[in-house]
Symmetry: C2
Subunit: 97 residues, 2 copies
DNA sequence: GACATAGTTATCATTTGTGATAACATTTGA
DNA sequence: TCAAATGTTATCACAAATGATAACTATGTC
């Protein structure tokens, strides 16, 4: 691969508009990566966590799906985390530092 | 006052059901306290942050209101924080430790 | 008291997240 | 390769968050 992807990313991010877009999207990707991680660390399948939350696996898939355009409710994330044995913590960090 | 309130809280929390209820509600209170804090630290009124977010002060009041039963969307909190000059960070912490 | 500023509450319309179902795709293990 | 398990996608109904408006309370200032 010779790091073509990394090069592309580096180049793309040097474009201010792309960089702005990336900063906006990155948190959403990051969140979903975390969701999947805590579920797997808990040893649960989508169907199992769905059952705990009394819903269906398709809804869990949508929640975890990176391509999803939805912005979930806080309570949805909280309950999902709790089902996986975690608690959610929110912090606010001053921008540009 | 002789700390009557503290005593009451301590006693109330020794009741398992009350303690459970408290753990469930505390995060919601905490979030709203944080929201109000970052807005004030930014030197903004509800009306000013509402204008930045292109909405109305009544909606900001509802968002910040501790008594509100709503669970806001992640994007709502994100945008509010951004308007106040902060970014939101979410972490998941293993329960019971 | 009159006034301005800041925040609250109630209400209704609109938007959007969530639940459920079903069909499909993907991965894994025998 | 076949079957089972796991995850994805599309769709529709329903619930709930958000937007807007207006009237209200609270507070401080003149």
């Amino acid at each position: 691969m010779r790091s073509t992807l990394k090069d592309f990313k580096k180049k793309a991010l040097s474009d201010p508009e792309v960089a702005e877009e990336y900063r906006n999207l990155a948190p959403a990707y990051e969140l979903r990566r975390q969701l999947i991680k805590i579920r797997k660390d808990a040893g649960l399948t989508q169907e199992q966590i769905a059952e705990i939350l009394q819903t269906k696996k398709s809804n869990i898939s949508r929640l975890e799906n990176v391509n999803s355009t939805i912005s979930p409710k806080l309570s949805t994330i909280e309950e999902y985390a709790k089902a996986a044995g975690y608690r959610m913590q929110i912090r606010f960090i001053p921008q540009s530092q």
